[in-house]
């Protein structure tokens, strides 16, 4: 299916693009089983860790600039902070508030804060880490609008980076979409429009992670929707098949990934969310 695609390494001349869509609906206030925190707090903690991972990977030497391997965006949908209503906005705070796609060096130099945070897996001690995203929750789940906003940014980015690895968009949600159709267009069609945006290396990838507040069996990178409770089958249909580099990443992490696996993880816990994001953002050989 992906013959010859998704091969381009990320590099400074041809950086990659990572967009996270983060559900900020009111149901994200639910406690996340086994974590002592809510889904919103847990998702923010994991996001800050994955952003830190990206910055650390691009850090090479004392007094050397962080390398521009990626442009990164995080958009929250549900409650908005800038105006107290429902919608979609950049989830970055502090100096990056309101920004769309931010070059990684600028992200690294402009956290919202640096503070002590618990470890994601609760196996190691807490540590002082940079924070870019705070937990927010309220209102409903305008997922269509989020995908539309992401599409606008991704379209401009792909146009400016025709040789780059295709954009990676990862949607983190705990519930059902509440704004379909949006602007007269159904959710599935918004996803089709998003994944039609491409670089010379292939179409935009759209992955989905469904969070469960209870400790339910995790389903990671399924090959068919059978047995998935709602909204699993819809998320499965919207999720891109995993390209070769991410299949290799997942297998290297000990996951059993079969041919035709989709970029969907269902009922995941907090540690698994971090693992999924790491798999989904490790792209070929950062050679420069």
């Amino acid at each position: 299916m992906y013959d010859g695609m998704y091969r381009q390494p990320v590099s400074r001349p041809d950086p990659g693009c990572i967009v996270i869509l983060l559900d900020r609906s009111d149901s994200m206030k639910a406690p996340w089983a086994g974590t002592g925190a809510s889904l919103a707090e847990g998702a923010a903690l994991v996001l800050n860790n994955i952003l830190l991972d990206l910055c650390i990977t691009a850090t090479k030497e004392v007094n050397a600039p962080v390398r521009h391997y990626f442009d990164v965006g995080v958009f929250g949908y549900g409650a908005r902070v800038t105006t107290p209503d429902e919608g979609v906005e950049s989830a970055f705070g502090g100096p990056l508030a309101g920004r769309g796609l931010v070059p990684l060096p600028e992200l690294a130099n402009n956290p919202l804060a640096v503070r002590e945070e618990p470890s994601v897996d609760q196996m190691s001690v807490s540590a002082k880490i940079p924070i870019w995203v705070e937990p927010v929750r309220g209102y409903r789940t305008p997922m269509c609008e989020a995908i539309a906003v992401a599409g606008g940014h991704v379209f401009d980015w792909a146009d400016a980076h025709p040789n780059s690895f295709p954009p990676i968009v990862i949607n983190i949600t705990d519930g059902m979409v509440t704004d379909s159709p949006y602007d007269g267009v159904a959710l599935s069609e918004w996803v089709t429009r998003l994944t039609a945006i491409e670089t010379r290396d292939g179409p935009t990838l759209f992955f989905n992670v469904f969070l469960s507040p209870t400790q339910a069996p995790e389903i990671i990178f399924p090959t068919n929707p059978a047995g998935l409770p709602a909204p699993g089958p819809d998320l499965f249909a919207m999720s891109s098949p995993l390209p070769h580099p991410m299949v290799e990443n997942a297998r290297a992490d000990g996951l059993d990934v079969r041919p035709g696996a989709r970029g969907l993880a269902f009922n995941v816990g907090r540690s698994t969310l971090l693992k999924i994001l790491q798999i989904g953002t490790r792209v070929p050989d950062r050679s420069f």
Binding site: S11, R12, P13, L52, C55, I56, T57, T59, K60, E61, V62, N63, V66, A108, V114, K128, I129, P130, R286, S287, F288
Partner: protein, 266 residues
């Protein structure tokens, strides 16, 4: 001895992350000539510094107050020396001004490099020889009259880049690494050449030797200018025969007489 190098295509000259060093030794102290090449890992932190520290330390190009003598070539001696190298790495004053992010990378990832070190002995006697130790896929090729005598370590072309061994800066990984230290040696003769090459170049050399050994070894023996080396590397990268990575080639030529000219290229 001459060293040729080229950074990864697309990188700045200063971003070359291999290391190479040689020392003629000191007859008054009994120190033999030594040569070393290292390949710093791209994903790690401060890789160029680590590679440089390892090769300089192996051949004995230390600071005046250096207490870390070059190691013997036995496993236990190398292990002890690497522990000193790790300690020195963590005390590097250049890291004092590190940002929080740089400190996190240092703590979580540290640095990593392959290492190949070689010592020549008995050069004034009837049985001169080379002895070498290696961790990883930096390779020594012993060539006589354009024929390959020994490749050390013996790595097939398809085996390069598959989880190479190397030297970490984190103390926890050292024992396991040293357990995998390889060693070899051989008899030398006047006119022999030793080539020490980092992995991208070494892999190409292994394939080129299989296709046409005399052509390869003649080409490398007659390299006489950095630009010629860079052109060779650029051509092979364009032809997809050489992986785009930092490349380093050290050539050591054993002469029966003193050289008549010294050429320094800048």
């Amino acid at each position: 001895m001459v060293v040729f190098y080229a950074p990864k295509q697309g990188n700045d000259e200063r971003e070359w992350e291999d290391g190479a060093a040689g020392s003629c030794g000191d007859p008054s102290t009994g120190r033999n000539p030594r040569f070393a090449v290292a390949d710093g890992a791209t994903e790690a932190f401060g890789s160029a510094r680590w590679a440089e520290q390892l090769v300089a330390g192996f051949v004995g190009l230390g600071q005046p107050d250096d207490c870390a003598e070059p190691p013997g070539l036995r496993r236990d001696a190398v292990h002890g020396w690497l522990e000193l190298m790790q300690a020195r790495w963590h005390q590097d004053p250049r890291a004092a001004g590190a940002t929080d992010l740089e400190r996190l990378k240092l703590a979580r990832v540290g640095s990593f490099a392959t290492l190949l070190g070689c010592e020549l002995s008995g050069l004034d006697g009837p049985q001169p020889r080379w002895d070498a130790v290696a961790l990883g896929d930096t390779v020594l090729f012993h060539v006589r009259n354009h024929d390959l005598v020994t490749q050390f370590p013996r790595i097939a072309a398809e085996e390069f880049g598959v989880n190479p061994d190397g030297v970490p800066t984190k103390p926890g990984g050292l024992s396991g690494a040293v357990d995998r230290l390889a060693d070899d040696g051989g008899q030398l003769a006047a006119g022999d050449r030793l080539y020490l090459a980092t992995d991208a170049l070494a892999q190409w050399m292994v394939v080129a030797h299989q296709r046409g050994p005399r052509s390869l070894w003649n080409a490398l023996a007659t390299l006489d200018h950095p630009a010629k080396f860079r052109n060779l590397v650029a051509d092979r990268r364009r032809a997809d025969e050489m992986k785009n990575d930092d490349v380093t080639l050290m050539r050591v030529h054993l002469l029966a007489t003193q050289p008549t000219h010294l050429v320094v290229c800048r």
